[in-house]
Amino acid sequence: MQRNDKKSIASFLTPAAVLLGAFMILPFLMAFILSFTNQRLIPSPRGTQFVGIANYLRVMGDELFKTGLKNNVVFVIVVVPLQTALALGLAILVNIKVKGNKFFRAIYFIPTVTTMVVVSVIWSFLYHPDGLINGFLTTISFGIWDGIDFLNNTSTAFPAIMLMSIWQGVGFQMLIFLAALQEIPDSFYEAADIDGANTWQQFMYITLPQLKNTTTFVIISTTILAFRLFTQVFVMTNGGPRNSTYTVMLHIYNMAFKRLNIGYASSLTVIFFIIILIISIIQRFVLNDTEEVQ
């Protein structure tokens, strides 16, 4: 009975190692190899050949891919700041010591445990041309608002999906901020009170600097989620109208599953992964840059 008992070590590690190897590391490496081939899901009689960088050259001229990538970037630029700010606001709000703050905390996180497919279905009904949101806008504008078909309009479909995504996801980041807020020692605020700092100054000079690492984490993880955008756009608009909600993941799905072109879909996957990798590296960089984290 030693801590270096080889047999025990092997038997404890083997199940996870085999599963990760077969269903994560192998497909991950295969994506790189397949991206240089013309592999089909159902192999063609001519077999699979290496095609060099042909797939990557094709990506360069793929207008649909560019549209998808542009939409993902727009989603990041709009949703990430809004969602992060709202999450922080909510966390500060439910961190105020009043009766019932746990109740409100629960209400704000309920959407995060509601499955995205269900959320998409409910909001499709809310966004109906004769639906509740149009009705509400007509009422508060005293009838000036003319109902619009949010999800069938190129200028409103994507913003509508963004709003819904924030509604669904913000509670999760709120809880992360809340945990970080509760770790800031009360003595910091007490000292600031004695020095005569007002609430705004306390927020700027205590809360925000103390939340730097958490904020970085939230921004990066929301950005990565934004690049993985799929379910909402698949269910609500399928990328339309006129590709205004098309995303990179939707393109990968269509190439692999509709066109059965595994080789080309793999090259898109590799590019997708490189984007995620760059974002993750930036996170490590920023976090290491600030202070000694753990």
Partner: protein, 277 residues
């Protein structure tokens, strides 16, 4: 004092306005799902009356059971999710225990390797995984929705951090008493790790229960179809019957919401844990 009271009232007003924003879609879903009159649903969908149907009944719910094998979908999802979680807890905690409590060459490297694997999103392996599972003849089955999702580097890492925090005396007494390593893991480490096991189970649940892209790719007919894909297929059938659609959505959502409200503190702890990446 006056200032503090004003601040509290302001906080309440904001909290209530925000709660309306976060809760109205779910109330809307429930009200529509209980409204048996489809004409009334369409007539009142844009007004406050949508929230208060003239009559309540379970007609839509019965319709859902009649129009499709809902019970089958529910079973599929429940079976896939629970099997993945249970086997996953076992497999991931075994690996984490070995990384945290054993001493061997390459241990530190393996830990950083697991951390590196956490960066790979599922979407980056979905396409080759489709090819692999297709070759294995696994398409349209339970196994294709369970086995690839058992081992997970993030859960191994969370469990590893927890096991690492135990003092080294933990096993020493047991070792002297002649316990096996598996006995120490099973009878000492696991019972001490209930909070982290609960967190991992919750994260695993949310991931698998909401899983959509993968079952969309690998299921063909209704036999192995989970609730998420069944919801999407039903939603895509015209003419849409909103009462039935919302009944499906509500049946899929309400039990989970109740479970999470019941487990509120565990869920809150879980999310804060997932933030310390």
């Amino acid at each position: 004092m006056e200032y503090k009271r004003k601040r509290k009232i302001l906080a309440y007003i904001m909290m209530i306005i925000l709660s309306i924003f976060f809760i109205f879609p779910l109330f809307y879903m429930i009200s529509i799902s209980l409204n048996p009159d489809e004409t009334a649903i369409l007539k009142n969908m844009a007004t406050i009356r949508a929230f208060f149907p003239a009559e309540f009944s379970l007609k839509n719910i019965l319709d859902v059971f009649e129009r499709m094998p809902f019970a089958r979908f529910l079973f599929n999802s429940t079976f896939i999710v629970s099997t993945t979680i249970i086997i996953g807890l076992f497999v991931n905690s075994l690996a984490a225990f070995a990384l945290a409590r054993f001493r061997f060459m390459g241990r530190a490297f393996l830990v950083s390797f697991v951390v590196a694997l956490m960066i790979i999103p599922f979407e980056a392996i979905a396409v080759p995984l489709l090819l692999i599972t297709n070759r294995l003849g696994w398409l349209d089955s339970y196994i294709v929705q369970i086995v690839p999702f058992i081992a997970n580097p993030f859960y191994i890492f969370l469990l590893y951090q927890f096991f690492k925090s135990f003092p080294s005396e933990l096993e020493e007494a047991a070792i002297i008493d002649g316990a096996s390593w598996f006995g120490i893991y099973w009878r000492i480490a696991l019972p001490l790790s209930r909070p982290i096991l609960a967190s991992v189970a919750i994260l695993h649940f949310l991931m698998q229960w909401g899983s959509f892209l993968w079952p969309l790719m690998v299921t063909r007919g209704p036999t192995y179809r989970p609730l998420t894909v069944a919801m999407e297929v039903f939603f895509g059938q015209y003419p849409r019957n909103w009462g039935d659609i919302m009944a499906f959505a509500a049946m899929m959502t309400i039990p989970v919401l109740l479970l999470f409200l019941f487990l509120q503190d565990t869920y809150v702890n879980t999310v804060s844990r997932s933030g310390i990446k």
